[in-house]
Amino acid sequence: MSEPNPRGTEPADSAADSAAVGVLDVAASEEGAKAPKAIEGRSPGQLAWMRLRRDRTARGSIWVLGFFIVIAILAPLIEKVYGLGPTVNSPDLLDRSGLPLGYFGGIDFTTNNASNHIHILGVMPGTGWDIFMQFVYGARTSLIVAALATLLSVVIGVVIGIVAGYLGGWIDQALTWFIDYMLAFPFVLMAIAIIPIVNTYLADSSGYVPPAERMATIIVVFSLFGWMSTARLVRGQVISLREREYVDAARAAGAGRGHIMFKQILPNLWAPILVTFSLSLPATVTAEAALSFLGIGVQQPTPDWGRMINDSLSYMQTDWMYLVIPGFSIWALVLAFNLFGDATRDALDPKSSR
């Protein structure tokens, strides 16, 4: 983070410096960059990708995100290589009050201990579970929920936004009011109130809810309350796009509404949609962790960073590593997503200024 926003903002800054001269400068420098090479056609996607690759912050955030995604996908393999599951009790590693023996929450790179196993991030107080494996599987929980919930909410938002923006009239008015109505629900309170109610339906006679169903509930609730901003954005874009000539042409050629909305207009919206998607991912990661922190998200034995933080609070003063490891993990993932989202926006829309 020595250089938080390198190239992304510079064109915008110089443009703002002194309006006309700045714009000319940028145009000239871009011309200069292109001149030596032979002229070749590049799609907007290729251009954006090039800008993204040239951005140092973007490259860094991609590496961090790649790391989290890889450990999430390869979690079972890591478990095999590491040789220890996330929920293996080792009470021998704890002292009589349930705190890990050794330094920094029981971090041990040697096998010279009671469990005969390395614990590179230490063990959890109370149970002696290995924190590294909890971290690995916690990444899985976090990324699955965030990715699916964001994807679902963006899909819902895009469909509603396109329909409202293109059809207009009373449909638009009704949908706009519906968006306002959905936005008026206090999201956190609704989530903590609804999820337990849904779980009472999913539970079997002994009150047990399978982990997959618990996760599905969270994903559905998040997407039901998360699509509104995308819908608003898409609606605004569609209202200006629907007046374009190619839409007129398609209509004149006899294309139906569905075709115009999803085959003609939608492909022209992928840039803003991608930006919303990548900027709402970190918010979903935070929300999921917060829900687990409040004790309403996924339950044991599904590992989860937010729940680890909640769990760590009672040991905070004696074993602070247990608080720092999951907290740092969530922070790193969210920061990487945020930086990546900003870089994506800069790459897709070079005119945007921060």
Partner: protein, 334 residues
């Protein structure tokens, strides 16, 4: 202007009505047996169960239930059957079935705590964020600018439950530099109130100021590029007057807008902050009520949250129209 206000207010009332219906259906029709869950699984006798069914009018139709709930809100009602009658006065939001405390009193007890956290923190992050953004805009491209942007983004990516816990651990438990978070009524001990609220304010301030600094920076840079700023400079106006009298004023309207919406949203969603700092505000109370399935409390808190959001939106819309003469009302949809 008046027509716009009336239309906006009517729409807000319609939204609130729809939300109250939705929440009612969700919470009172949702669980298989609300009376049983409210009664508690262990100590519930048949008589108690019966009493809750009667008093909630669970044996009647949903429409009747909703009607009597709303009648309670506006004119008050009597809850309970013959054996135990609770008189619940005008803004009646139901009764806590464990303690027979009116929900209204619970809200009245917890609301000042939530207000203290949210409004105090808002003052911190709006002022701090705007100042940071202004300085960044003035020293654009400098080390300070980059450092401020980086630090702000770093803090914006932290979670309140992690940052808050860290602050508690380092500055309260280990060093004792900051007082423990607690709520003391500002009317009895003003400085005690500030001291008790200091930790949540700092944590929320650090997390939320990033968006304000970003926004005010962009707005300032845009304004400083305007022609009238050059004119002001050309006629010999000092830089300080330019920054404060022109650039800041242009940035303030949108910042007020965002702050209004933020505050409305946070009033309904501080459960996480309150849990982190163990402050018994509205959100934490609702959380406890969810765990013990105490529906009247959950319902009331969610409705309050919705009222705050809708109200803040209306206020911001109207404020915007009053502050900014460029906003033409009526010509466009909103």
């Amino acid at each position: 202007m008046l027509r716009f206000f009336v239309k906006r207010a009517l729409l807000a009332v319609l939204t609130l009505f729809a939300i109250s219906v939705t929440v009612f259906v969700l919470f009172f029709m949702g669980p298989a047996d609300p009376a049983a869950s409210m009664c508690g699984s262990k100590a519930c006798t048949m008589a108690q169960h019966e009493q809750i069914v009667k008093s909630l009018e669970l044996d009647k139709s949903p429409v009747t239930q909703y009607a009597s709930y709303m009648r309670g809100v506006f004119v008050g009602r009597e809850i309970g059957s013959d054996s135990l009658k609770i008189k619940c006065e005008a803004p009646c939001l139901g009764v806590n079935f464990r303690t027979y405390e009116p929900v209204k009193d619970i809200i009245g007890r917890t609301l000042p705590i939530t207000f203290s956290i949210v409004l105090g923190a808002a003052v911190v992050y709006v002022l701090f964020g705007t100042a940071l953004g202004m300085i960044s805009a003035i020293w654009r491209g400098s080390i300070f600018d980059r450092l401020a942007a980086g630090t702000a983004l770093t803090f914006a990516s932290t979670q309140i439950f992690f940052l808050g816990s860290l602050i508690l651990l380092i500055f309260v438990y280990k060093t004792g530099w900051l007082p423990r978070p607690q709520y003391i009524s500002p009317s009895t001990d003003f400085f005690g109130w500030i001291g008790g609220m200091l930790t949540p304010w700092i944590a929320l301030g650090l997390i939320n100021s990033a968006s304000y600094s970003r926004f005010s920076r962009a707005q300032m840079i845009e304004t400083l590029g305007e022609d009238y700023i050059r004119t002001a400079r050309a006629k010999g106006l000092g830089m300080r007057a330019v920054y404060f009298r022109h650039a800041l004023r242009a940035a303030i309207t949108p910042i007020v807008t965002i702050a209004g919406i933020d505050i409305g949203g946070q009033l309904g969603g501080v459960a996480i902050t309150e849990t982190t700092f163990s402050l018994p505000g509205m959100g934490k109370t609702a959380l406890g009520a969810v765990v013990s399935q105490n529906l009247p409390i959950v319902m009331a808190v969610v409705l309050f949250g919705a009222v705050f959001i809708v109200l803040s939106n209306v206020i911001v819309d109207m404020l915007y129209a009053v502050i900014d003469p460029r906003v033409k009302l009526g010509s466009s949809g909103r």
